[in-house]
Each structure stands twice: as structure tokens, then as C-alpha cells.
Symmetry: C2
Subunit: 141 residues, 2 copies
DNA sequence: TATAAACCCGACTAAAATAGTCAAGTATCT
DNA sequence: AGATACTTGACTATTTTAGTCGGGTTTATA
């Protein structure tokens, strides 16, 4: 069970953005340099974030991205959903009545994994971007 | 973030084992058939479980595996550790003072992922094999 | 004592997912 | 006009996962 770079980068980049986006948009180039993330990869990630209205883009020179909502209103779960970093613990299709092995009944561990999924998502539901910025407010890179 | 088959199968197989292992050892063949897991793959998994003393093997005809401890004393975390299904959320080496990008300081999200890791491991720490068997005690496959 | 059931072990491989790269744009500021 | 920066889609290398395969050894039982 591991977190992928895509999810990690998305959050990292947004925390960076939230810290610096006081007046002007922040360019991906800056984020790329500060956080050590490939610019091309960041572009893919921000394209998704924009489509899900987490950020807004400003084109042209001096352009970049700005948050589309208050940092307090952006939860980790929103970010993860936007970049398709879903938590997936069950093997079967949840809606289906069939189990993961094709049998007519859910497997012995189905409920367990479902609980686990909720447990993890609860965590992402509680944490907002604002919390993360505050956690880092005393530190400087 | 997803659970791998190895971890899922390990738990599934052990729940099956715990349910049927009243007197006699349970063969992997039986588990394979009941749970729809490849026999060869199960062998790999049980080899690890045996090395970590979660189960004991009985060789020869009518052989199989038995639990090496009480079901109540086997926590999910023990199973996951045994089969190397670790929860890995941080990118950096935890012991090191360096961050994930090679910088001298931990990244903006390090603490968050560390918290997440603890949050997930807490779940695995609480659940025992016995809990799972009980959850399924009314169902029959 | 032969046979079959079952564990034991290591190497190999196909498929999938991840983590990018690359190329060719378009918009906007100065 | 030129530079900066977003936009898009396709492509690729690497890694991980989820097995398979081929050879064992042990032991109950007919
Ligand atoms: S995970 Fe849902 S039935 Fe097995
Ligand atoms: S995850 Fe530990 S420093 Fe980034």
C-alpha cells in the first residue's frame, strides 16, 4: 500500500502554491524549482486540478496558477479525487452483489477492506490545505 | 493508493484457515479452491507466513498449515509485515534528516504523510484474525 | 515399499501501473 | 516581436505486481 508520486506531488505543489499565492499567480516553473518536481509532470497534474476547479490559471507572462477556493475549503480528499489518486482497497466492484472471485457472495474480507477505505478517507476528509500551510508556517525553505 | 493482491490474499487465506483449522491442518489446495487464489501464489505467501511464525506447516499427505498462535493474537499488522505489504507514504528515508528531494530539510508534506502512515497502521494494529472470523461466523461459503 | 498428497524453493515472465518525457501548440505581457 | 507561461496529447522507460514453472523433499497410507 503506497502513496504514488502523483498524489504526493499534487499536495506538495498546492501547499507551495497556497503559501506563495498572496497577491500574484505562482508559475509552475517556480514550484518545480522549489519542490524539485518535473515541470512537465506538474503540468499534467495542474491540468487536472484546473478541470476540477481546485485552481485557476492565468495565461501569459507573469501568469501561473491561483487557488480557486479558500485554502480552508480545499480538503485533501478533493485534491486526491481531482488527480485520480483514489484509495482502492476492495477488489470487487462495490455496486455489484458479486464477490471479487466472481462468486455470488462477497468474500470473507470484503467488509474489512471497505472499513479500511473509510478509515483512510476520513483522514483525507478532515485535512484541509489550510491545516498544512499552518503546520509549515514557522518553517522556511 | 491501493491494496495489493498479495496482502489481500494473505488475509483472505488466513481467515479461511482460521475457520477450518479446528482439528486438522488445512491444505493450500483447499484454500486455493475455496478462495479462488492460485495455488502457486499461495505457496509463496505461506512460505513467508511460516518464516514469520504466523503459521506452522505439516508436511506429507494430509498435511497443510495450522495457525501458530491464537487467532486473537494475530493482528493484521503482523500479517502484512510478514508478507512485506508495508504501508509506505513518505518518499524519503525516515531515519535520514534529509528530505525526499535531497534537500537538507524535510519537505512540506512529510509530517502529513507520516501522520497518514500512523493512521493506517493503527487500523491494522487493532484488527485481529479473530475479529474477522467472528464477522463471518454467520456466513457460509 | 510404492504412490500420491502436500509442502518447499528459486528462477523466470507477462502484464499493468507509474513516472515521467517530448513535441507542438496558444495566450498574454512588455 | 519576443519571452513567459499555460495547454494538450502522445509517447516511453522503469518499476512493480501477480503470477507461472520446474524442480525438489517429506510423510501417510494402501
Ligand atoms: S473484495 Fe469485495 S468481494 Fe472480495
Ligand atoms: S516525504 Fe519525507 S521529506 Fe518529503
Amino acid at each position: 500500500m503506497k502513496l504514488t508520486s502523483k498524489g504526493r506531488y499534487a499536495v506538495m505543489a498546492l501547499v507551495d502554491l497556497a503559501r506563495f499565492n498572496t497577491i500574484n499567480p505562482v508559475s509552475l516553473r517556480d514550484i518545480s524549482l522549489r519542490q524539485g518536481i518535473s515541470l512537465d509532470y506538474l503540468e499534467q497534474i495542474f491540468s487536472k486540478l484546473r478541470k476540477k476547479e481546485i485552481v485557476q490559471s492565468v495565461r501569459g507572462t507573469q501568469g501561473g496558477y491561483i487557488l480557486n477556493k479558500k485554502a480552508k475549503e480545499i480538503k485533501l480528499i478533493n485534491i486526491f479525487e481531482a488527480v485520480d489518486e483514489k484509495v482502492k482497497t476492495v477488489k470487487c466492484k462495490k455496486e455489484s452483489k458479486k464477490g471479487c472471485n466472481g462468486k455470488a457472495i462477497k468474500c470473507l474480507t470484503h467488509n474489512l477492506w471497505d472499513e479500511l477505505e473509510n478509515h483512510i478517507n476520513n483522514f483525507f476528509d478532515k485535512k484541509s490545505l489550510d491545516d498544512l500551510v499552518k503546520d509549515n508556517s514557522e518553517r522556511r525553505v
